[in-house]
Every structure is written in C-alpha cells, then in structure tokens.
C-alpha cells in the first residue's frame, strides 16, 4: 500500500498500512522506542487523515501479519463473522467511528458490528477517537459473563481483590484478603499473583482462597495467576480453581516468549471445564498490556495499540470471564507518563468492549514512570464513567509483592459511592449480611479486617 497526502502545505508519504497505523497513534514512548512513531504532530495528523478514508476491506487485503505466518492472526481471522463483515467491508474507518458514536446504535448493535471486525479494524477506529469518544462508545456496551457469579451488568463496578504476599505466606495472604473483603472488594475475583511458581504452592493458594470463600459463604471466584502450565498441574492434582489464568501477547512470537501457544490454551480450556470448581460458562481470566510484544522483540514493527487489540482477538476465542489490561505496569519506555497511561487505559477498555470482552483495567503505575496516585484516581473515574466491568484493588494502592501501585480498596468504595455504582448483586447481599454495606453505603463493619477472625 502506498498513500500520499498534502497537509498544511507539506507532502506526507506512507509506504504501508503498518506505517499508517503506527503513525496514526497518539504519542507513546513505546512506538518511539520501536522507531515507528510519527515524526511530529503534522505527520501524525496526516496518517490519521489517510486512515479515516481507508475502507475496512483494506485491513483484510493488506494484513499486517499474515495468518500463514502467525497463529494469532489465524485465530482473529477465524473468529470473524464473515456475514457481518460483508455488509460493512466498504465502510471507511471514519464511517465506522460515526456508526459507533451514533446515539441510535446501542450495545447490541455495537457488539454485532464488532463480530464482523478484525482486531486491526478495531485498533484503527480507536486511533480516530478522542478520549471522550472512547468513553462514550464503551459506555454503551454491556458485556455480561458468568462464572460462579455474573459480572458486567450496567450500574455495577466489580473489583478484584489482589492479596499478594512477598513470600506467599498463607496467613499474610488471608490478612490482606480480609482487608479487601471488609471494603467490599473481591466480587470480580480473589486473584493472587504468586511469588513461587511451583505446583505445590499454587495448590496451597487455591485451597486457601477456596477455604475462605466457603468459610464465609462468599459469592465470588478464585484464581492464582501463575503460568498456565503450573495451574494445570495443580488442577490435575485436585486443586479447587474456579478460573484459569494466563497473560497474552498479540503475536505468536510474543506468546512463545511467555511460553504459551494456542494449542496449550485449548488444552487448559478443556481441563478447567472438566475439573474446575465453577459452574458458569466463562472460566478464563486473561491479562494483557501495551508494549509486551516490543519488550519480547516480537512486535514485527507493528504499533502497540494494534498489538494490544490482537490480544483481544485471541482472547475472544476463549470467552473469558475476566480480561484486564495492566495498563501502567510495563514502565516508561512504553508508556512514559500519566497522559500516555490514561490514553492507553481508555483505548484498551474500548477496544476490548468492541471485541465483546468483559473488560477490566488494572489502573496502575511504577515508580520510574511520570505518574502518581492522583493520576490513577483520575483514570479510575474516567473508566468508571466508561462502564469498566471491574478494577483491581490492593491495600492502600501499594502492592507489596509486585512493587507497583494500583487502586486502593478505599478508591473502589469511593468510585461506587460517587458514581452510584454497586457491587455484583449476590456479593452486595453478602456485604449487607456482614454489615459492610448498609443502605448502599459503607456500614459500621466496613474497613475492619478482624471481622473475619472469629466467625465461621
């Protein structure tokens, strides 16, 4: 593909769809590091202008990474509803944007259109959308998934409790989990990042979280976020897991660097449906995040927004219960500051929802990034208005194991209070039973982790 445009008196030439896609991105350090970013604002606008006029069919005719050479591309291609695609293939990206934002098109219309789009098309339209466009569009889409409980209903903001401990100490994990529960966090999932990736340790953590759930009759689901193969070994041994987890990349080579393949995920899928402890039809938990392909040198000069969308194309095949981008975890060489993290969080949330995925966001940052807790609070309010399915909470926003900051349990309670959002229905009843919630507000017992020490 070759395109030329005159803008503000300058001539801009682009030699491939890959180049147009990369240069049409809002600025981010990862694209600069990869050497594929626009030179300046005018070139960025030239790329966006050209992108707006491209028909959707161009994205199938000029694949960025062909299905023959990459299995993620194959999954995306196979996952596309060709009947829907045929009806819209002559639309330009601009027309797609305007269809999405038209007030007469609601959740089901967008989800239907989404089935006829490849991940690259969804990434393309995100590049033509402002932050408020991304919020407006995503807020229309309702994606409900079912494990032990249902997550994703309009008016609900769920939260993952992340009771990590620097040495996977079970008592310490419990203590942190009690704190989460006492603020009403944990309705999306009780999900632990383990330090030690051994079968026995995963087994122990799954048993312990399940025991807490049973002891206090908590309507939620458990998960230990180790490599998928070590979870499989623990589940084979009889560990009680409601969900199975894996981090995803947007290229086959990226996934190889994670030590996974599509066939391995299929195997894990079969196992969790056969031996998992949940009832519902969605049993996967995935995490993603812009920049992981570049960090594994598996990006093929494709920009990080498009690669992120491709993760969602892969995830869609497995109908996950939860999927979140860990948006600010990767560091300033991919997303430099709060402006870039905010943009990426909104893009990821929108692109995931357009794929029909139950999007959550880990609103987070590292200490070498130009961002602070105020920036996370800002992004969390934007995402709450955009209808994010869930966010992640850690004690006082500080994850003492992963050494990064996310949202605090206080922040989750605050978002629910300010935006009049509720926890997952069954979980809300459970909170009321324990006095954590009274008349829709934090109750007397809220914030007291000792609540769970002498009760069964």
């Amino acid at each position: 593909m070759y395109k030329k445009i005159t803008l503000l008196g300058n001539i801009y030439q682009f030699h491939s769809l890959k180049e147009i896609m990369a240069k049409a991105n809002e600025e981010r350090s990862g694209d600069i590091l990869a050497g594929i970013s626009a030179e300046n604002m005018k070139e960025r606008m030239a790329a966006k202008t050209i992108l707006a006029d491209l028909p959707l069919s161009d994205f199938r005719n000029y694949p960025l990474l062909s299905p023959e050479e990459d299995e993620v591309s194959r999954v995306i291609e196979e996952g596309m509803d060709t009947e829907v695609y045929k009806k819209i293939k002559n639309w330009t990206v601009a027309e797609l944007r305007e269809y999405i934002l038209d007030e007469s098109h609601e959740s089901n219309d967008l989800l239907t259109i989404g089935r006829g789009l490849t991940s690259e098309m969804i990434a393309a339209v995100a590049k033509l959308m402002s932050n408020l466009d991304l919020i407006q569009a995503a807020s229309k889409i309702e994606v409900i998934t079912h494990c032990n409980t249902e997550v994703g209903h309009k008016g609900v903001l769920a939260a993952r409790a992340q009771p990590n401990h620097p040495s996977d100490n079970l008592l310490g994990m419990r203590a942190s989990l009690y704190e989460a529960l006492s603020y009403g966090a944990g309705d999306a999932v009780i999900g632990i990042n383990p330090v030690i990736d051994t079968t026995n340790n995963i087994y122990g953590l799954l048993c312990e979280t399940k025991e807490v759930m049973e002891q206090f009759a908590i309507p939620t689901q458990n998960c230990v976020l180790s490599h998928v193969t070590s979870q499989m070994r623990a589940i084979e041994k009889g560990a009680p897991a409601d969900l199975i987890f894996q981090s995803l990349a947007g290229t086959q080579a990226g996934n190889e660097s994670f030590g996974i393949s599509v066939s391995m995920l299929e195997e894990a899928s079969a196992l969790i449906f056969e031996k998992g402890t949940a009832k519902g039809s969605n049993r996967w938990y995935f995490e993603t995040g812009q920049g992981s392909e570049l960090s594994a040198n598996a990006h093929f000069d494709i920009d990080q927004v498009t690669l992120e969308a491709r993760c969602y194309g892969l995830a869609k095949k497995f109908q996950p219960f939860l999927l979140n981008t860990v948006v600010g975890f990767i560091g300033p060489e991919y997303l430099y500051d709060s402006k870039q993290v905010t943009r990426a969080g909104l893009e990821d949330h929108f692109m995931g929802k357009m794929h029909g995925l139950p999007m959550g966001v880990d609103v987070c940052y590292t200490n070498h990034m130009k961002a602070d807790q105020n920036d996370m609070e800002n992004l969390s309010t934007l995402l709450a208005t955009a209808g994010v399915n869930y966010v992640i909470g850690v004690p006082m926003a500080d994850d003492c194991m992963l050494n990064y900051q996310s949202l605090s349990y206080h922040d989750i309670a605050t978002l629910r209070s300010v935006f009049r959002l509720r926890p997952v229905a069954e979980f809300e009843k459970w909170m009321e039973k324990y006095g954590i919630l009274e008349d829709g507000k934090l109750g007397l017992a809220a914030g007291d982790p000792t609540l769970f020490m002498n009760r069964a």
């Binding site: 200490n367 914030g447 982790p449």
Partner: protein
C-alpha cells in the same frame, strides 16, 4: 475493631492493612505515608550519586549515551552503549584483560549506591582476594543498563564481570541494589548467561552477605568457565 486481632493480622504481612477510613477515604496519616514513600522512590530515580562517594573509592565516571534522565527512562538501548570518547576513556584508564572487572552504576536508584556501596564494595574485594582473584580498574557508569557490561567486556576482555546497579525502586525500599555477574560478557551475550543477586540492602540480602556470595559465584564461574543456567552451584 479488636486491637490484638488487628496486630496479629498486621504482623503477618507488610501490606498496608488495618488502616481504617473516614467515609470511603483513608485517614490522613496513612495517605501521607503512602505519598512519602512514593516521593522517596521518585527522588531516587532522578537522583545523582555524590562525587564524594565516588572519590572515596577512586572511581572515575563514564557516561553511557543516555544524555538526560528522560531519555534514560524511555530509551533503555542508550544505557547499554558508549560514545567513542567514553570508550577511549575506559581503554585509557583501565587495566586490560583483568580476571575480574567491577563496575558500579546508578541504574534506576542512585540511593542504592549511596546506601550500600560502603558496605558491599570492601567486602567484595576481600571475598575475591580470599579466592586469590585479582581485579581490574573499577569505575562508575552513569546512566547504565545491565547489558552495558557487554560493551565494556568487548573493550577490556575480563574473564568475569560484576556490575553493581541500582534497582527499580519500590515503596517498601527505594535503595535496593542488584549485582549482575557474567563469565566473559561480550556483545551478543544472552540474558540467560547473566546471574543476579537482587534485593541487596540492610533489610533484604545484607550487603556483606551478598558480597561474600558474589565472591563464591565468581570463583565457580572461573573454575567452570561458564555462567548462567549451565553453572553448577
């Protein structure tokens, strides 16, 4: 809230639990504590190692191609390479083909060097000496990344390499040091050939303990003429 029960919970984890609330928000002192710890972490990323400390150990300074802190953070590739004049300086000042080359770098935490070098460095020299291992000319690299050892390895051709470098700061500790070690690092060395002792600070792996361990590891590398996954320890 039961105070004894709460104390038992708090003792079991470094997580900031049992902090209480006012409405949906944290209490002022806990909110300020979080911001104070973050301030320490940010300042160490942007901080500088003092000339006084470098002089104390006779370390001359070489810059990588990072130029500014902003570029250091966004372009890790520039922290792995040296301009021609910097390379010339290394060649001019340093003994060639040493058995062990020691390099110190600020990395992502200048405080890691400030807080730990006085303890870790003399003990490391003692530990190497106890194995009869000699060292080359040590120096300080400003704006270094781990793989800067490969370029230095090309220039000086040491048998073994020790890079003491500041880690990405966390809130619990903003001055944690890592020691990366490698047998004959050269341009193109695989990451899996490097070995690391991380979390070196007074409340983690203590500097003295870490230094003794480094000596043993270097000794084994030289004995087995390898490092990384294939080294038997």
């Amino acid at each position: 809230m039961n105070k004894d029960s709460l104390l038992a919970l708090k003792k079991s984890t470094p997580a900031r639990i049992g902090v209480g609330r006012t409405g949906t928000r944290p209490l002022t002192k806990d909110f300020l504590l979080l911001r104070i710890d973050h301030a320490a972490a940010v300042d160490t990323v942007y901080g500088e190692v003092s000339a006084k400390l470098l002089d104390q150990f006779n370390l001359f300074t070489v810059d990588t191609c990072f130029e500014t802190k902003e570029r250091y953070l966004t372009r890790p590739d520039l922290g792995r390479i040296f301009a021609e004049d910097a390379q010339a300086l290394i060649l001019e000042k340093c003994v060639k083909r040493p058995v062990v080359q020691i390099v110190i770098s600020d990395g992502l935490s200048s405080n890691a060097i400030e807080e730990n070098l006085r303890d870790v460095y003399p003990t490391l020299l003692d530990s190497l000496e106890s194995y009869n291992l000699t060292t080359g000319t040590p120096f300080f690299v400003r704006g270094g990344r781990v793989a800067c050892m490969d370029v230095i390895g090309e220039l000086l051709e040491p048998e073994a390499f020790i890079l003491l470098i500041g880690e990405r700061p966390g809130l619990v500790c903003a001055h944690s040091l890592s020691a990366y070690m490698c047998y004959r690092p050269r341009v193109g060395t695989k990451e899996s050939d490097r070995m690391v002792i991380s979390n070196i600070h007074q409340r983690g792996t203590t500097p003295i303990e870490a230094a003794a361990h480094m000596g043993t590891m270097i000794h084994k590398m030289l004995e087995q003429k390898t490092s990384g996954v294939s080294l038997v320890i």
